[in-house]
């Protein structure tokens, strides 16, 4: 049996073993569940990602340990 025939056999086997889902009807309204999720996970209006905090911490450390870099930083701003 060549590969093409073999693939057709595999397709046929899959279709014979796994039928399409017949009942795709949603039985209930999911809005109350959605509202709960919105309440639980509401995003703060102002959110700073962790890597911005990490960058600020590194910058702060550099300024503390190397104060001479302040003019250079101001020059580049």
């Amino acid at each position: 049996m060549n590969n093409e025939e073999n693939s057709k056999e595999v397709n046929a086997l899959v279709r014979a073993a796994i039928a399409p889902v017949k009942d795709t009807e949603l039985r209930r309204d999911l809005w109350p569940q959605m509202l709960r999720k919105l309440d639980e996970q509401s995003v703060p209006a102002f959110h700073v990602p962790w890597f911005d905090w990490a960058l600020a911490a590194i910058l702060g450390a550099v300024l503390v340990f190397f104060p001479s870099s302040i003019p250079a930083l101001l020059y580049h701003l």
């Binding site: 049996m1 590969n3 073999n6 693939s7 056999e9 595999v10 397709n11 086997l13 899959v14 279709r15 014979a16 073993a17 796994i18 039928a19 399409p20 889902v21 017949k22 009942d23 795709t24 009807e25 949603l26 039985r27 309204d29 999911l30 809005w31 569940q33 959605m34 999720k37 919105l38 996970q41 995003v43």
Partner: protein, 175 residues
């Protein structure tokens, strides 16, 4: 202001209206992929949560239905990736007539096992293309990939199944 514009601006009532308009369709798409009603309900809510979070990126002139379906597909794919470690097969949902009763239960289980062990991105397109017989264009749009890539993934999925099921294929062919 139009509904989609109000949604993009963060209006919760507009979001609720869109949710009620599209929840059935999103659920129907997701349940075909994950084949579990409870998980499909959770993923429908997760999809709309992602939609709500990304509302600022949505272009009100765009197609909300297509956007929602793509997000739903990604949510379902994430689920397949996470659930892969769990070895159990999805529960048997009421299926359309099509599963061949002549195939023995044991054989069917082996085929299912092989199918549900496919890598998630292959399982996704194989489920939609081979089992649900969705058009390649729709799958490509929903998965955010080209039609050519859908064909490649279906081809590779069949090749993986062929390797796993080759003794079975020969056995069934000789009967």
């Amino acid at each position: 202001m139009e509904l989609l514009e109000r949604f993009a601006a963060g209006d919760l009532e507009a979001f609720e209206a869109l949710f009620r308009q599209h929840q059935k369709e999103v659920y129907a798409w997701v349940v075909r992929i994950v084949r579990d009603t409870g998980i499909a309900e959770d993923l429908t809510v997760e999809t709309f949560w992602r939609i709500y979070k990304s509302r600022a990126r949505f272009d009100p002139a765009g197609n909300f239905r297509a956007w929602a379906r793509r997000i739903a597909t990604n949510a379902a794919l994430d689920h397949l990736r996470h659930s892969r470690r769990e070895t159990g097969l999805p529960e048997d949902l009421p299926c359309a007539p099509g599963a061949d009763p002549a195939i023995r239960r044991e054989t069917r289980e082996r085929i299912k096992q092989a199918f549900f062990q496919l890598p998630p991105k292959y399982r996704l397109v194989a489920t939609l293309a081979l089992v649900e017989e969705e058009p390649y264009n729709d799958i490509a749009e929903a998965a955010g990939i080209s039609v050519a890539l859908v064909k490649v993934r279906v081809f590779r999925a069949v090749r993986m199944l062929r390797k796993k099921l080759s003794p079975l294929v020969a056995e069934v062919a000789t009967k």
